[in-house]
């Protein structure tokens, strides 16, 4: 257990993942992992390509059901919830997808208003105002009536974030928020996430492998590993970068290959342990 984790264990847990295993058919992708996310933190799931980051996220947002174990969102087991119980859990979370996933047949403001229309009794004017406020929060004032196809990559991510925040959820899940964005737009998005976290107190769970974003945003990270199908490291990114002795973690945070680490690749094959 890292120093960082010891410091925050007295905080309130908002997500609790216990003995969780994810599988596609007979192929196990993630094997028996356990971790917690604490209220108000910016928690990042990272790892190399194909290690199961997005799979974990999709289980956490209830798209897939765990092969084993449980995922509690604010104490409710999302993997075992059905009907109204599941909807209540889903109302407490917001999700921004890698592609943005805005509905192409609706304008930006209609996209943001959709969850409000479905779940609230607000009048049309109120919904319109709330949606405009959310779009203003992400810096998209003036783009309300545009269609998603008219937006740039960065604007799509912002609009998706505004839609995810429509019902003021307690937890926001972001899948690869900076993927495909230029460094400036990416840094602006990081800044926006930090601002929202500070001003709204929302818990962020973010899947990414963009190192700059990780250092800019993360309070705490877990790193998944493809070979062990488990969590290989957990803690603050700076702490892991400076102190981890696990080759794959070093390689990730220092952006180095086996040869550059000077071990000819043998170290990466060593039995990895959890930091």
């Amino acid at each position: 257990m890292s120093e960082t984790q010891e410091n925050i264990t007295n905080q309130e847990k908002i997500i609790n993942v216990t003995d969780f295993t994810a599988a596609y058919g007979e192929t196990i992708v993630i094997d028996n992992i356990t971790f917690d996310v604490y209220k108000g933190e910016k928690f990042i799931i990272l790892g190399g390509s194909g290690c199961g980051k997005s799979t974990l996220l999709k289980h956490m947002i209830g798209l897939y059901r765990p092969a084993k174990g449980r995922i509690l969102i604010e104490g409710q087991n999302i993997g075992a919830a059905y009907g109204q119980g599941r909807i209540e859990i889903l109302k407490s979370i917001g999700v921004s997808y890698q592609s943005g996933a805005l509905f192409g047949s609706m304008t930006v403001i209609e996209n943001v208003m959709l969850p409000l229309k479905e779940y609230t009794d607000l009048s049309k004017e109120t919904m319109d105002l709330v949606a405009r406020m959310k779009l203003n929060l992400v810096g998209l004032s003036g783009s309300e009536d545009k269609m998603p196809a008219e937006l740039s990559g960065g604007m799509i991510k912002r609009a998706a974030l505004a839609r995810a925040m429509a019902l003021d959820p307690d937890i926001l899940f972001l899948d690869e928020p900076s993927a495909g964005l230029d460094p400036i737009t990416s840094a602006e998005l990081d800044q926006l996430i930090n601002q929202l976290s500070k001003s709204l107190g929302v818990t962020f769970v973010i899947v990414t492998h963009e190192l700059n974003s990780i250092y800019n945003i993360a309070d705490r990270v877990i790193m998944l590993d493809k070979s062990t199908k488990g969590i290989i490291a957990e803690g603050r990114p700076e702490y892991l970068r400076d102190n981890s002795t696990i080759p794959i973690v070093q390689k990730f945070f220092l952006r180095k290959t086996d040869d550059q680490l000077g071990d000819g690749g043998e170290r990466s094959k060593a039995m990895p342990g959890r930091e």
Binding site: K58, L63, I87, L90, K91, Q98, S99, A101, G104, Y119
Partner: protein
Amino acid sequence: MTNHTATSTASVQSATEDNNTLRVKINGRLDAYTTGGAWNESVNALSKTKPANLIVDAGGVEYCDASGIALFIKLQLQQEKQGGGFKVEGLSPELEKLYDLFDPEQFAEHDDEKAPKDDTIVAIGKESFNFWQELRVHIEFTGKLTVGLVKAFLHPWKIRWQEVFMTSEKFGANSLFIIALVNFLVGLVIAFQSAIPMQTYGAEIFVADLVVIAYFKELGPLMTAFVVNGRSGSAFAAELGTMKVNEELDALETMGLDPVPFLVIPKVIAALFMLPLLTVFGNLFGLLGALVVMFSLGFTFETFLNQITTAATYGLLLSGLFKTLFFALIIAGVGCLAGMRATKGPSAVGDAATKAVVIGIVLMILVDGIFGVIYYILGI
């Protein structure tokens, strides 16, 4: 023994030095365009002689890229498979570096790597499991669709009417021309083809009866449904398939919104309203096609009208229109399901659209057959 074959810019000389050693000397360029000829020649020489040792003399190679290295690896692997020794000689230092990049062992085909073939019982088991999984998905979807429709009719204010009207415009109004054209031509052809034998018996006046009965009961509903299926069923599949690929369906689910009532039900309702109307329109144009033939046979409009009003009944018209409700369900349901089940990849949406059209047509013919039997039993 010495063989020599020249390709355009690469040549191979193979010679047995003693009873146990084959020396293959390669000269010229070994690139993607020239290696093919050298490949066949050297591999054939190796297969024929099966030497204990193979020496590839690359001293005359002027240029070599990955294709040339692939030839060396192929020769090495084949020789090792035959249990012989292998050596490359004369590689320049630059080519040596390129050669060292690839470990031949990584390209060897190991027999134990091949997936063992399932025995028949396992294969049958797997196929049965897949079949039941497929069936389960369809039953689940049909159940959701039924519940969604019942809920929609019990709470009509909850239906997304804007979406229904927009779909109705695309599904109905925008397909009027093609439906008119197809039905007009089919009516014309049927009338013309039946007029030829009927003329023999002086019964050509009954062409009008034949067309109206065939059209009201079978051709009108079927032809219209086929056209709409090709046009709108595939469009539904493409629309939902694109949404699936763009994660929009996932986004709906994580908002707690079921895609079936949200996306599918408005399309089904639009189809249920529009297909019977389109069929009436199609029937009309089918009869117009027949009218043209009747005119050409010398009959007047009044005669044609008298014949069709005598032959056609409301029961006949309604029996055809009733079927269209089921066709509408099939077109919208199958189209949407195919789209929602689209996989990832560049051909996903196209595959979904194709599946929607093919399954839709097969199911509609099947349902039409069932109705044919039921109507026969009921005497309609």
